[in-house]
Symmetry: C2
Subunit: 400 residues, 2 copies
């Protein structure tokens, strides 16, 4: 079948567009490679000629985006000069959710240079308290910026609905926050580093599609389920995180599982979150709402019947809703991230079974459920988002 797609209007191309495109191709090749390639290697991988690659690499090296290593002696011929993405170009990843506050510094190669984090309980918290804590972590990480480092941006992951401009958090039910601009206080610490806000699950999914700038992850079509107190999510198709018309996409927690069932604070009823969110799980298990899902898992392991029943219902709900999503979008991979990952072993079989039974095209496609082991993946995503801008449009980031 022809790709049914792409009505997006492309802009005109100029000679400078050509150069920018090819600089991006070369930089992406360098930053995304498993092993540092040589100029000749880049030429072979991209299809550009060695002369062109040489010129472009020289520009990237002069601009501080790529570093040359010591010559590599391997067999006959002139030894190759290995090329590495600069460790001095980096971005800040920040995250605040109900159980984590974290700051990370990630470089152009996707390597985490430093991290500072804590695990407070922020349910129903005062925004200023949480943001001050974040500012502390941020300052600490920023102080460890390498000599001559350039921090190109900061991305803050939040568990809620962020408006289209990336300035305001409209609502974050788990934190109990509504309509605020978390950036105002932080900018003081940031010394002009551009800050953008994003939904936690969307950013975590971004980190999963693109674990390093220019490097593609194992899946290009998946649903990311971020289960904490509530359930967030993100949809990725064709290696693109779908944010929707206004940036609100991903509210998988409020897809219907049993319409007419449990009322949900969102105003609807029977939402997935009311069956698979932490609050729902702990309530059904007869445990205090602060019980973590890891603790719940242990109780189930120990034979606690109510916990088992709650987890089984959550798995059922997830399986049914995700099967619907797979039918709609043909995304063969489900990624369990956040706290719900702690239940992955226990819920995966049921989810798998429901997918197999309810997905129309199940006979013609693989269906896999995997876990994202990073518990603050949103922070990485926030940083990677800014770094991927560097890789996509390098000219603006070439040092004078």
């Amino acid at each position: 079948m022809l790709p049914v797609s792409d009505a997006a209007a492309p802009l005109l191309a100029h000679q400078s567009t050509l150069r920018e495109t090819n600089l991006a191709v070369v930089l992406r090749c360098v930053s995304g490679a498993a092993e540092p390639p040589s100029r000749a290697g880049v030429a072979a991988a991209t299809g550009l000629t060695r002369s062109t690659v040489s010129r472009l690499v020289d520009e990237l090296v002069a601009g501080g985006l790529v570093e040359e290593g010591a010559a590599l002696l391997a067999g006959p011929g002139r030894p190759a000069t290995p090329l590495r993405p600069s460790g001095r170009v980096c971005a800040l990843g920040l995250q605040v959710n109900a159980a984590h506050v974290a700051a990370r510094l990630i470089d152009l190669g996707g390597r985490m240079l430093s991290e500072s984090r804590s695990e407070p309980d922020l349910v129903g918290s005062e925004p200023a308290v949480a943001l001050d804590l974040l500012a502390d972590h941020l300052r600490e990480v920023l102080a460890r910026t390498p000599e001559g480092g350039r921090v190109v941006g900061a991305g803050l992951a939040l568990p809620g609905v962020v408006d289209g401009s990336g300035e305001r958090l409209l609502r974050a039910p788990n934190l109990g926050w509504r309509d605020l601009a978390p950036g105002t206080g932080l900018r003081e610490q940031l010394h002009g580093i551009p800050l953008s806000l994003g939904n936690e699950a969307n950013l975590a999914a971004h980190a999963f599609v693109q674990p390093a700038p220019g490097r593609l992850g194992r899946a290009g079509h998946f649903v990311y389920v971020s289960g904490e107190i509530g359930i967030g999510g993100a949809v990725v198709t064709d290696h693109r995180v779908q944010t929707g018309r206004h940036g609100f996409a991903g509210e998988i927690g409020h897809m219907p599982f049993r319409p007419g069932g449990d009322p949900c604070p969102c105003g609807s009823d029977g939402c997935l979150e009311r069956y698979a969110g932490r609050l729902a799980l702990t309530r059904r298990a007869g445990l205090p709402p602060t019980t973590t899902l890891a603790e719940l898992d242990r109780l189930a392991e120990d034979g606690h019947a109510a916990s088992r029943a709650a987890i089984d219902l959550a798995a059922e709900a997830l399986g049914v809703v995700l099967a619907g999503v797979v039918n709609l979008l043909d995304v063969p991979t489900i990624v369990l991230g956040g706290e719900i990952g702690d239940l992955a072993d226990r819920i995966t079989p049921t989810v798998q079974a429901r997918l197999r039974a309810r997905v129309m095209a199940a006979d013609w496609m693989p269906l896999e459920v995997v876990r994202d082991p990073d518990d603050v993946a949103g922070a990485s995503g926030g940083a990677l988002l800014h770094l991927s801008r560097v890789v996509t449009a390098p000219v603006a980031f070439l040092a004078a």
Copy 2:
């Protein structure tokens, strides 16, 4: 917010890429414009210089993709030469579903040059019979190809799951067809015109995003619901029809409305289709399954209680499922296409109400339900798909 997106690896750019891109920009501008623009108009609209536009337009005219009209006298100054997309470059759109067989010829400007169609009942039909009928329509339309016309492709819309290669129809429950290659018989009539298969709803959605090559429709983010005997669908985000990893996306009819409810032949239960598909509607209304939705609408109008109840339940099911989809994808527009469009007036208020009540971000976004009046929009989409290839990569289609 920064666009969380686009990890797709771009290819290297060459001077020829430059030319191709700008030829596409110019052609898209000409083919998508409401009024035929002049060279100067194209330059103003695209940002290219007049000299560049002149050269590119000359190439497109020489290549037979653009036609020059008679000079337009309007005020002082040299009169402009109006530019129009060629009426000789066209594509075939074909469609077979349970109630329609149609063939259309559409030109580069998106104008329908001719059509031939019939309304047989093909539920549980023999594929050969339906395809012979399609071949008749096809032959008739092709015979009316304009003098010197070039048919660049044929797209066949089918109400079922098409495999990734676009060669085989895997299953079409409403027709009762399984695993066949409808192209084999048709190619004889096609004299080398490349044929591709696509899902009916996906192609109809394509025609809705891009009613003419290069012209964007009114919505870029929407769900297309194609209600016939079953319920098909398509998801469009950022003006792109999402076909998923294997091309199976769009099975909205098999999203859960009441899991554990009505068993569905798909192997699952409680699927939307079991509440909002024609078969479900007529059964609940106590009418024969061949009753059309237009007839059902008339009965409801006349006060037939069972019909009204069936339609209300269908609207409820659609509203709940679509609200979930909007929560997941932030697509503020719902397009009702196919036969279910005949019920649009009756179901829209309920669907609207459910969306308003169940969509989390409803307070921050518009939500609209519109109808696609074209009852064989899939055929147009099939043709437009091939035509949009011409507009995207014109060089391959320049006449020698």
